[in-house]
């Protein structure tokens, strides 16, 4: 049953993405920046999806610490890995954008810099999971790191923004400039497609995580006695 849901969601999201890409490529280029501006249709939804993944991870971690149910831990790790991948997509699209517009592969814009720091924060979540072998301890410590990381996300964003107001630098996607309504609609549709894709990946990863846990415990039983 779960497999069918995964396939269905996957198919719908791919179709939706295909339709969106077709629509986006049909849009006129933006005045100042040309065709590359359309990367915003992916750059922004990737960030929003990654932020949603971080929130889900935090909630799942809190629930694990309260209830000690390993399913919450499995959700936390799955959704964090997916979020990390989406955030990497955000960083890469941002980098491509910077290369085309500014001629540099990286610029210390507020959002990109915040995204990079947040990426490092959640990468450290994965690193601590790799460093602990015992599953209960691993889940507990990772949950704490996830909560710490989520709290840091707004602090990082606001501190970098404060830095940038005092030391102005390049700004991508400034909020001035018109963004036509139908463009917003396409952005929303793309966001929806990203959410579904994120859900699909998370469910696949969740399935893999549960199988891995079962294997681990069977291995322990086999070796213990």
């Amino acid at each position: 049953m779960r497999d069918k849901i995964i396939y269905l969601l996957g198919a719908v999201s791919i179709l939706l993405l295909a339709r969106n890409i077709y629509l986006i490529s049909g849009l006129p280029g933006e005045e100042a920046q040309g065709a590359i501006f359309k990367i915003i249709f992916f750059h922004v939804p990737l960030a929003i999806t990654a932020l949603t993944c971080a929130s889900v991870s935090c909630v799942a971690s809190i629930l694990f610490l309260v209830k000690k149910d390993f399913r919450y831990d499995a959700v936390a790790v799955s959704v964090t890995e997916v979020g990390l991948a989406f955030l990497a997509g955000n960083l890469i699209t941002g980098s491509i954008w910077a290369r085309i517009i500014w001629g540099v592969w990286w610029a210390w814009d507020v959002r990109l810099t915040s995204a990079l720091v947040c990426w490092l924060l959640y990468a450290s979540y994965l690193m601590i999971r790799h460093a602990v072998e015992e599953p209960t301890q691993r889940a507990r410590l990772a949950a704490v790191v996830s909560i710490f990381a989520f709290i840091d996300v707004p602090i990082v964003y606001f501190s970098i923004r404060l830095f940038r107001t005092q030391h102005p630098g390049p700004v991508f996607f400034s909020s001035e400039g018109s963004f036509p309504h139908d463009w917003s609609m396409i952005l929303m549709w793309n966001l929806f497609a990203m959410f579904m894709l994120g859900a699909v990946f998370t469910m696949i990863r969740l399935r893999q995580e549960e199988t891995q846990r079962e294997l681990d415990s069977l291995r322990r039983v086999a070796h213990a006695f």
């Binding site: 000690k68 390993f70 681990d216 415990s217 322990r220 213990a224 006695f225």
Partner: protein, 232 residues
């Protein structure tokens, strides 16, 4: 109400059950010897009783309360695999530290008393890292006893003790039992343990294979319990 009650405790490492449905009780003034092969779960169980880790299912009650409650922690004395004293501090400084942490009225005096009880008064200002092994173990015993705990949890306490330390520990344990303290100790040293034990429990593969009073038969032939109730 028993002093130590283990009620339906399960402990999981991931999905692997290291302890399965453990039910044990130790009445006040009794000495329960936990025996079993390596990997049976003795240390895991003892650490759960002491409050170092939480069971996946079930609960532990010490003197009617949870082990992690502050009042309960005051009544527990624990000796684990390590001696739990600081190498860089002197014997007196170590015991005074623990006396302060346990909120004792006159920490320094209690520390000095216990140095005498364990025969370490002459080296009270010596740094622990310069002590011999037997001296370190006697200091560990002093640390565990100095706050007058009513429940003593000992994980293989006789392992690697020299004869003087064994004598000190056995004397203190006998005195404690006479005062109504409860002792739960896991052990490989069946002979020393069964001399003191009033009850015996055999753990096998995370389950209680046998639980009952310690008979003179058992004390005379320590391997008896394994042979009768263990596997192979």
């Amino acid at each position: 109400m028993s002093a130590v009650a283990v009620d339906g405790v399960w402990k999981y490492y991931g999905d692997f059950p290291a302890l399965r449905d453990i039910r044990l009780e130790a009445a006040a003034g009794s000495c329960l010897a936990l025996i079993g092969r390596n990997g049976a779960g003795k240390t895991t169980l003892l650490r759960i009783i002491a409050g170092f880790s939480r069971p996946g299912k079930g609960e532990v009650r010490i003197l009617g309360n949870a082990p992690r409650e502050t009042a309960t922690r005051r009544s527990i004395g624990f000796i684990g695999h390590g001696i739990a004293v600081y190498d860089e501090l002197s014997a007196l400084e170590n015991l005074t530290l623990y006396a302060k942490l346990y909120g004792l009225a006159d920490p320094r005096r209690t520390a000095l008393e216990w140095l005498e009880h364990t025969g370490l008064e002459r080296v009270r200002d010596g740094l622990v890292r310069e002590f011999s092994r037997g001296m370190r173990q006697r200091l560990a015993v002093a640390r565990a006893f100095l706050h007058n705990p009513s429940v003593l949890l000992l994980d293989e306490p006789f392992t690697a003790l020299d004869d003087r330390a064994i004598a000190v520990l056995q004397r203190l344990l006998r005195e404690g039992l006479a005062q109504g303290k409860t002792i739960v100790m896991s052990t490989h040293q069946l002979r020393e343990a069964l001399e003191l034990a009033t009850h015996v429990a055999l753990l096998n593969r995370g389950q209680v294979a046998f639980e009952g009073a310690c008979t003179p038969e058992m004390a005379a032939d320590p391997g008896l319990v394994y042979a009768r109730y263990g596997e192979g």
